[in-house]
Symmetry: C2
Subunit: 402 residues, 2 copies
C-alpha cells in the first residue's frame, strides 16, 4: 500500500495509490477520482489534496488523516466495493499507461552515515593504519546536507558527472572514472517542527510520513579530491534517485526490531526506550548493456547503527527545523559480510577486485549504460510487503567541455 504521483494521457500529475498484491499490484488507484466518487466521506480530509502534483499537501493533513485514508482504501480494495467495481476502468489505471513523478516537493535533503559497516569499510580502506571508525561515530549520527534540486524519481537517467580529480597526483578534468551507487533508505518527513525547538527522541517517529529506497550516486574520484575540509559536494550533487512510491511508515510496524547494542551509551537526548530498527531485506541489482543482470548485494536495514528516531532527534537538537517533504537518507546500508556491501567502493575494494560478471566482464565501477535497481521488502511469503523500488541508468557524460 503505497502513495505516489502519476500522470497519464491528458490527466495532470495527481496522487495515486498502489497495493502490493498480485491482482491489483499492476494498477494504480486514481485518488482524485476515488475522492470525487465520495469514497472518503466521513474522513476529515480536504480532498483537493489528491489533485496536487506532489504529496506534500496530503501529508500536511496530518497523521490521523493518513491513517483514516489508508484504512478506507484498504477496505475499498479488499471488498471490491460496488462503487469501485462499477467504474473499474476509471479508477484503476494500468501501470503501463502512466508516468511517475517525484512524490514530494523536497525542501531540504540530509544524508546520514548511520551504516556502521559502511563507515568501517571506508575507514579501513582510506585510513589503513588508524581505527576504522572516527572518534565521533558512536556518539552521534553523523550527517551532512545534500542537494535537493538534483533528486530525481526512479527511472530517470543519471548523467556521468565530469569534474576535477587527481591523476598521478595532479588535478585534472574529465568524466568521473569511479562512478558508484549507494544503497540507502530515505525518510519522508511528515510534520513541520518549529525553528529553535528540538524534537524529543521518543516523539521523533511521529515526524515520519513514509519510507523510500534511495540511491546516493557518488563519483569517488571527485569526492576524494574535494571533500577536505567541508565534506562531499560535487561528488554527490549531480544526482540522487528515489522511489516513485512511498510506503507509509506505519507499514513497517510488523518488522520493528531492536538494533545492535550501542556502546558507549549515547547521551540522554539520543536514548530511545523502545526498539527503533526495522528488519527490511534490501538488494541491489546490476544490469549492464551487454546483457548481464545479477544481484550484487543483499543487505538489511537492521544493520544501521543509529535508528530513524535518533537521526531526527539529533538533526533537531540544535533547533534546526524540519519541514514536510524533507528527505532524510540513512547513509549506505552495508551488512557485516562482503556480499552485503551497499556500494561498489566496498564490493570491489575501491576497484581493486572488480566484480566478475556472468559474461566474463570485470566491473570495478559503473559503466555507461549500466542500470542499478534497489529493492526492499519486509515479511515473507504472501505477507511480504515491498518498498518502492528505485532504478537509474548511467548516461554518457556531457560533452561540451569534454
Amino acid at each position: 500500500m503505497m502513495y505516489g504521483i502519476f500522470s497519464y494521457d491528458i490527466a495532470l500529475p495527481r496522487v495515486g495509490f498502489k497495493t502490493g498484491d498480485r491482482i491489483h499490484g499492476e494498477y494504480i488507484l486514481d485518488l482524485e477520482v476515488v475522492s470525487l466518487l465520495g469514497c472518503f466521506a466521513g474522513i476529515p480530509v480536504d480532498t483537493t489534496v489528491f489533485a496536487r502534483p506532489c504529496l506534500n499537501e496530503f501529508i500536511a493533513q496530518g497523521k490521523p488523516v493518513w491513517e483514516a485514508v489508508g484504512k478506507r482504501l484498504a477496505e475499498l480494495i479488499a471488498h471490491e466495493t460496488h462503487t469501485l467495481a462499477s467504474v473499474h476502468d476509471q479508477v484503476f489505471i494500468h501501470q503501463s499507461r502512466v508516468t511517475m513523478h517525484l512524490p514530494v516537493q523536497i525542501g531540504d535533503y540530509t544524508d546520514f552515515y548511520a551504516g556502521i559497516y559502511h563507515a568501517e569499510n571506508v575507514g579501513r580502506m582510506f585510513r589503513p593504519d588508524a581505527e576504522p571508525l572516527l572518534p565521533n561515530y558512536r556518539h552521534m549520527p553523523v550527517a551532512y546536507h545534500g542537494r535537493a534540486s538534483s533528486i530525481v524519481v526512479s527511472g530517470t537517467g543519471i548523467r556521468r558527472p565530469s569534474g576535477q580529480f587527481l591523476d598521478g597526483g595532479k588535478p585534472m578534468f574529465g568524466p568521473s572514472r569511479t562512478l558508484d551507487f549507494e544503497l540507502e533508505l530515505g525518510l519522508i518527513i511528515g510534520k513541520n517542527s518549529p525553528l529553535g525547538v528540538p524534537v524529543p527522541v521518543q516523539e521523533a517517529e511521529d515526524y515520519i510520513f513514509g519510507v523510500v529506497l534511495f540511491n546516493d550516486w557518488s563519483a569517488r574520484d571527485i569526492q576524494r579530491w574535494e571533500y577536505q575540509p567541508l565534506g562531499p559536494f560535487l561528488g554527490k550533487n549531480f544526482g540522487s534517485s528515489m522511489s516513485a512510491w512511498v510506503l507509509p511508515f506505519s507499514a513497517l510496524e510488523p518488522c520493528r526490531v531492536a538494533g545492535m547494542a550501542q556502546q558507549p551509551a549515547p547521551l540522554p537526548y539520543l536514548q530511545q526506550s523502545t526498539p527503533g530498527h526495522f528488519d527490511l531485506a534490501l538488494e541491489v541489482v546490476l544490469q549492464t548493456q551487454t546483457g548481464d543482470e545479477l544481484v550484487i548485494s543483499r543487505s538489511n536495514a537492521r544493520h544501521l547503527y543509529w535508528s530513524f528516531a535518533q537521526m531526527i532527534a539529533h538533526h533537531t537538537i540544535n533547533g534546526c527545523n524540519l519541514r514536510i517533504g524533507d528527505v532524510l537518507a540513512s547513509g549506505t546500508i552495508s551488512g557485516p559480510t562482503p556480499d552485503a556491501c551497499g556500494s561498489l567502493l566496498e564490493l570491489t575494494e575501491n576497484g581493486t577486485r572488480p566484480l566478475n560478471l556472468p559474461s566474463g566482464q570485470a566491473q570495478p565501477f559503473l559503466a555507461d549504460g549500466d542500470t542499478i535497481t534497489l529493492r526492499g521488502w519486509l515479511g515473507e511469503g504472501n505477507k511480504q510487503i515491498a518498498l518502492g523500488e528505485v532504478s537509474g541508468q548511467i548516461l554518457p557524460s556531457f560533452q561540451q567541455f569534454g
Copy 2:
C-alpha cells in the same frame, strides 16, 4: 535601489523597492500599487508577480524585465512624476510601518569557502604544523551544502544552539559556548540551469539576480566535534541570516575589479577572461546588552580568492542544476590584516585573545543578547550605494533539555 518583501497593516506580503538616497531611503515603494497605477505600461512584465510573497516569480520574468523595471522605477523616482506624487501616501510606505520577510523562497543553499585569508587563518589555528591551505584550495572553490529551512531574514532572533562537543576530551551536551558569526556575501540565483548541463564560466554572471549580506552563524565547539568526515552540520544549520533587501547584481558594475592573482592557473573551466571581483567595503558591528557598540571588523569583498562566476561554473560543472531563489554564499570574507577578520574565531584567535570592549568587558565569543550587524557598500560620498544590511540578536538556548 533594492528589492524586498514587506507587509504592513492589513496588506499581505508583496514586493517593495527602496532607494538608497536621503529623501526616499526611509520609504518603501509598494510595487503592487505602482503596477496597478499602470506605471509599468510598455514593459512585458506579468504585474501579478508584485503581489507575491517572495521575489521568485519576479525573478523568473528574466533579466530584460529586471532591467526594464529597474530603469522605469529609477525614472519614476528621479522625476517625482505626477502619477506617484499625487498618490504619495499610497505608494511610499514609511519603513517604521512595515514588517520585512525573507525575500526569496530558497530551494538550495550552498556555502563556499572562497575567502583565502579566512581559510589560511583557520588552517594556521587548527593545523599549526602543516601548510595553512589544504592542497585543493587553489584548484577549486571548495563548498558544501547548507540548510535552507533555517535561513531567516534580518532582524530575526537566533537561538543559541545546544549540542554535543568535547569537554576535557569527553563528549558532553549543552548550549554552545563558542557561538560565532561569519561575514559573507550571498548571491540570489536568477535563472534555472538544467540538470546535467554545466554553466560556462563566461556566462555564469547571467545566473545572478542580486546580492545580499549573509551571516553564517557558527557554533565552533559543535562544529569541531561533528565535522569529520562529512563537513559542518549542526554547528551551522540552527540558523543563518540574510538581508531583507536584495541589491540587483547590475548595481555592482561600478565597483568591478580584478581579483588577486590565481596561482597556479585554474583548470580551463574555471578561467574567467574578464575581471570578476568587486570592491565592496564590508563591516561588522557588535552591540552588547550592556551598552557596548563598536565596529569589530572592516573587510572588503575583493579579498575573495574565487569570483562569483567561478563559484557558479564549479557548482554546475558536474551537471548539478541551479534554481531561481537558490542562495550561494561566499564563505567568510576576511582581509589580510587582523582587524579585517570576518569571524570571532579569527578576531580572538579561537577565544584566546578576547575583544576588549569599551565598557572594559572581555569578549571571546558571542553572549546572549549580543547583536551582530553586517553592513556593506560600494562607491563613496553621494555616489555610495549600500547593500541590504543583516542583523541578528542571540537569544538564550532552548531549555527543555537544558
